[in-house]
Amino acid sequence: LPSTKSQVPGAMTMEKVTDYKDASTYNNFYEFGTDKDDPAKNAKTLKTSPWTVEVDGMVKKPAKFALEDLLKLSAQEERIYRLRCVEGWSMVIPWVGYSMSKLVERVEPLGSAKFVEFYTQADRATMPGLRSSVLDWPYVEGLRLDEAMHPLTLLSFGMYGEVLPNQNGAPVRLVVPWKYGFKSAKSLVRIRFTDQEPKTAWNKAAANEYGFYSNVNPNVDHPRWSQATERRIGEDGLFAKKRKTLMFNGYEAQVGQLYAGMDLKKNY
């Protein structure tokens, strides 16, 4: 998947990139099972072509995009982002895609639109995890419209210079680097603009543990574990002390102003 280096501020961390093998075999993608190695084992069945993404709701120009058209909607960029999982581990991943804002601008949201909802594919025939009731399917995530419009919010089609492996959310996914990984919905089939705060999958499952915002924040602990530190996969050895988690996963300079004046302990 050809791309050029992104010029967006903060989009190219110089940190050591995680091994492709780790990034493609240690995944959370519950539609293919709840163990970390399940997605790599089970996601082969996902059929990524043909693929369409429906964009609807409070927009002037609702549309159904075929994947081929979505790929060409804007120039593909390479971006190297830190990824911080809510479980306390992290990676550094070179994604390929373009700013979500390019798609948002294309469909022209109405003035009343305040939020964007992202729907992951939910096909029982190809996604064995849907048989379990761990989450309320389909997987739904959401952003405030201004978060979706932030240049760092990425609509991604590839990683490590190649198209996305199925287990990483092929053929198209969201990547929001300053939020916990589960906010970055995979294998998107629908994007809907709304004036209501989306009811997101993990928030519905455990509201006290997973808030709507879920910004990476070392000062607000998960009820069952601390978020102050993280283990960098493949780099922090068994006996290395875990590294300190950074506010907004190190993207505070770029995104801090989105949350000016908000109580982030309440809006976790």
Partner: protein, 220 residues
């Protein structure tokens, strides 16, 4: 005939050393896997979870000895109970050490705060603390010193430990809504404890069920 043959296998001098080696296999695998980097992308998490799993498995095995002994009329089975119980403690020690070392970097102030703050850690730690006196009084002289009835009363704490272990596991999985494995272990423990309760209600417990283990002579 078959029963006698099985008994002689159970009483064979090599039976205990064999069980000892078998019980060490998970540890050997984990040790090898850690050194050879065969434990996946997050070896620390793998080690902590695997040692927790093996603690729970050995707890189930230990608690299965008495019901199996009675149901199969193989009193010789009791020879293995103490070793299984001590392996439960062995894997619990590894589990706690793994958490303290890999997750907390051996920062004891942090560990103390963590235990106080998080119910799921507190419950696991309480289970470990309760298990410690049981391991410490497992040798014959301790049994003699305590006396069989007091020793037995103390070791009934294992039922509380089983409850704490399941709660610890349940809470660990609760945020992910993934209770399939928890349910399997809970069901096994419920059967093993339910069987004891059932016998007691039937009055069978009037006969001292665990007496052979409590008698130092046969506990060898």
């Amino acid at each position: 005939m078959a029963t006698a043959a099985r008994r002689s296998v159970l009483l064979h001098p090599a039976a205990k050393p064999l069980l000892f080696v078998l019980a060490l296999l998970p540890f050997a695998w984990l040790f090898y896997g850690a050194v050879a980097n065969q434990l996946g992308a997050n070896p620390a998490e793998y080690l902590i979870r695997a040692t927790g799993d093996w603690t729970l498995r050995f707890l189930c095995l230990t608690l299965a000895v008495t019901p199996l002994r009675v149901v199969t009329s193989q009193p010789a089975l009791v020879r293995f109970r103490r070793m299984l119980g001590l392996f439960t403690y062995f894997y619990a020690c590894l589990h706690l050490s793994g958490y303290a070392l890999f997750d907390m970097g051996l920062d004891f102030a942090d560990i103390a705060k963590d235990i106080a703050k998080r119910p799921f850690i507190l419950v696991g730690f309480a289970g470990f603390l309760l298990l410690t006196p049981l391991a410490a009084t497992s040798f014959n002289r301790a049994i003699r010193a305590l006396g069989a009835s007091r020793w037995q009363a103390l070791h009934r704490a294992v039922y509380v430990i089983a409850g704490l272990a399941i709660l610890h596991f349940f809470w660990m999985r609760a945020g992910k809504n993934d209770f399939a494995e928890v349910a399997v272990y809970a069901a096994i423990l419920a059967v093993l404890l339910g069987w004891r309760l059932w016998r007691r209600l039937r009055g069978a417990a009037a006969r001292p069920v665990s007496a052979p283990a409590a008698r130092p002579a046969s506990g060898r």
